[in-house]
Symmetry: C2
Subunit: 394 residues, 2 copies
């Protein structure tokens, strides 16, 4: 029987990256393809202790249904951290706990996007956002990323002409490029938002992972009720727990998000919220984050040095000050997908840039992850990619 799927499913494809990750399951492959945090970021023993405590002290509540908004002390912890770390005027009622920040993208898209609505994103942009948004059939416009952040002229022109409902961006150690917006660029983005009807969706999964340079203020601080800030515990405690959040001072948006969250999964896993809240109460998160940053800074340096040693000079790479990714650009006309076919034959994987663009194929860019490989694998894998590049780019 011919299935009668919804129109939104036409052309919907499984995540390219998740399909690549299946290829990389072979342990003989050196993979820079994933976006997996290093196991050092999982506080296994402390989670053990917290689980034992919450089940012992309050087991029957910990395993019961709970509220859509999320566990109040966890929301309070997140709000307090925004206040102390960034001097943001945020309270627990401005926080909604979501099933990972991926769910936040889906909920935001659901409350805002009608078919053919304009949405503005980065070029290249986070593929998980593209995937979430496209389910609601918007027209996705993109503004280029430069080393200092978003192309303000292009973004301004698109906001003026297309009046997008949302501007989605990842200003810290962006996925896929690793680029961080400068203070000036952030101010300019905030100014664009002020003069528009566009809501800023500022995604910040990697913000805590700065291993060099200075922290930058969230753009959110400058845009008040026209902003939505997303966060996640995936990169600093555990991605398996699927715990992220939405922060907004706009109570109308918050109200709508809670309504659609009820229909989406009633509430976020409460058992795990309780474990995490207990962990945060009894441990020094910042000390834990320092350990992660020390390792990632080292791994990034290791990969960067190998790239300088092995890659042809015609390949441009970003110099991330935090996060998990380096972005590589071959000269125009070459295809990273072609390159991938050649390196995977030599058991080295990365992510070709295609899925980070809207409707483009065979782009010359690709993404390297450095957080989940040993020093020797980084050296060996980058040498193989470099050798392949030297042949391919001739």
């Amino acid at each position: 029987m011919q299935q009668r799927f919804a129109k939104r499913m036409q052309g919907a494809q499984k995540s390219f990256i998740r399909e690549i990750l299946k290829v990389c399951a072979d342990p003989k492959i050196i993979s820079f393809a994933g976006g997996l945090p290093h196991p050092i970021s999982f506080p296994v023993e402390a989670i053990q202790v917290s689980t034992e405590r919450v089940l012992r002290e309050d087991g029957t509540n910990v395993l019961q249904y709970s509220t859509t908004e999320g566990y109040l002390p966890l929301r309070q912890w997140i709000a307090d951290r925004y206040c102390t770390r960034w001097d943001l005027d945020v309270t627990a009622s401005d926080i909604l706990i979501t099933t990972g920040s991926q769910q936040a993208l889906d909920l935001i898209a659901k409350i805002f996007i009608d078919p053919d609505d304009a949405i503005l994103m980065e070029y290249p942009g986070y593929l998980g956002a593209i995937q979430s948004f496209e389910m609601y059939q918007p027209v996705l416009y993109t503004a280029k990323l430069h080393d200092e952040g978003l192309d303000i002229d292009q973004a301004g022109k698109l906001i003026h002409e297309k009046n997008p409902k949302l501007l989605y961006c990842v200003p810290n150690f962006q996925n896929p490029t690793g680029i961080t917006y400068t203070a000036e660029n952030r101010k300019a983005v905030a100014k664009l938002i002020h003069g528009s009807q566009t809501i800023l969706v500022e995604d910040n999964p990697y913000g805590e992972l700065r291993f060099m340079g200075e922290d930058q203020m969230p753009i959110f601080k400058e845009v008040g009720e026209n902003g939505i800030l997303l966060g996640s515990f995936s990169k600093i405690v555990s991605p398996a727990m699927r715990l992220g959040w939405v922060c907004t001072k706009n109570q109308e948006i918050m109200d709508k998000l809670c309504t659609v969250k009820q229909g989406a999964d009633l509430h976020t896993n409460y058992f795990t919220q309780r474990v995490l809240a207990d962990y945060l109460q009894h441990n020094h998160l910042d000390a834990h984050i320092e350990e992660i940053k020390r390792l990632y800074g080292h791994q990034r340096q290791c990969m960067f040095q190998a790239i300088q040693k092995y890659f042809p000079k015609s390949v441009k790479v970003t110099k991330p000050e935090g996060g998990m990714f380096i972005w590589c650009s071959m000269p125009v006309g070459y295809s990273a997908t072609e390159l991938f076919q050649k390196t995977i034959a030599k058991k080295v994987a990365f992510v070709p840039g295609d899925p980070f663009y809207v409707n483009e194929a065979n782009v010359p860019t690709f993404r390297l992850n450095y957080t989940n490989s040993s020093d020797s694998d980084i050296e060996k894998g980058i040498a193989i990619i470099g050798e392949t590049l030297h042949t391919y780019l001739q």
Copy 2:
């Protein structure tokens, strides 16, 4: 600034029940409003042991990202149970783990429903399904429920005339009515599906909780690739864990569900999947379920006897053989919402029927939950509702 929400948000309201539950937070209120499992159903100590074991034996994997489809041994356990308990021809690849079965409803709606598509449901029907489906702007048609199940004539006529994409039903101890479809009714529903383009969505959150009478075969067994069967661990292990599943032999549907699941939350909480899988491996789930059923059977009997003692004879009630709810119908013309206002003033709560219907208000029906109240609260609360009914129905 005027927010520019999507059209689907017009009229979207927060779940009526969750709003009622907030009122019931007052511990002085006797509440038959919730759908909360009794704490006896939470195996706190065994979950403690399983958590300790999985974190000790495989901590860094347990806290890492995982696959969209779900943890294979958990999917295998579910498939094996279908095979042994119902002789269903199901394998692990026919199972997708979801963030509660509520998420399954959202994912199914997302892959199937375009605006104005016809969907067929029960009258009255599960409000969480109404809430999920309405986000995709279908036209919801309903067929009446009788004591023996779905009104086959009415459902058949609607399938013939409206050609609905989905028929959604809860054949075991339905929410809100507690009604169970007979074997004959199930056969007749399967026959309707066979002669149509309609996909059966059979939701079964309470099926394991039969405390009297005989188990009935899932309709799913008769409809092959035209069926989707939903299940959940919420009522037999823990709702806080948000672990449900989709089962379908239709690989095209399964493939589309995985694609939208990626965009919705990447994958279901893996930490909790591992804990649950370990729990299921090391414990006797059926012995645990027996305990729950013994209590619920007792509570249902207790409430039923109180109803016979205190309610006017003009109020008709269902006689559930399992599950969590009794459904009450006052004579036509009376409003359960009015009744609710009167009983809540006397500190007794239930759920007026309105949210279980599509676009109806002030219906004369209401739902009583018996699983989370003591014998004495059941006696006392039903006496107060009965007394109020005697005055109200005069």
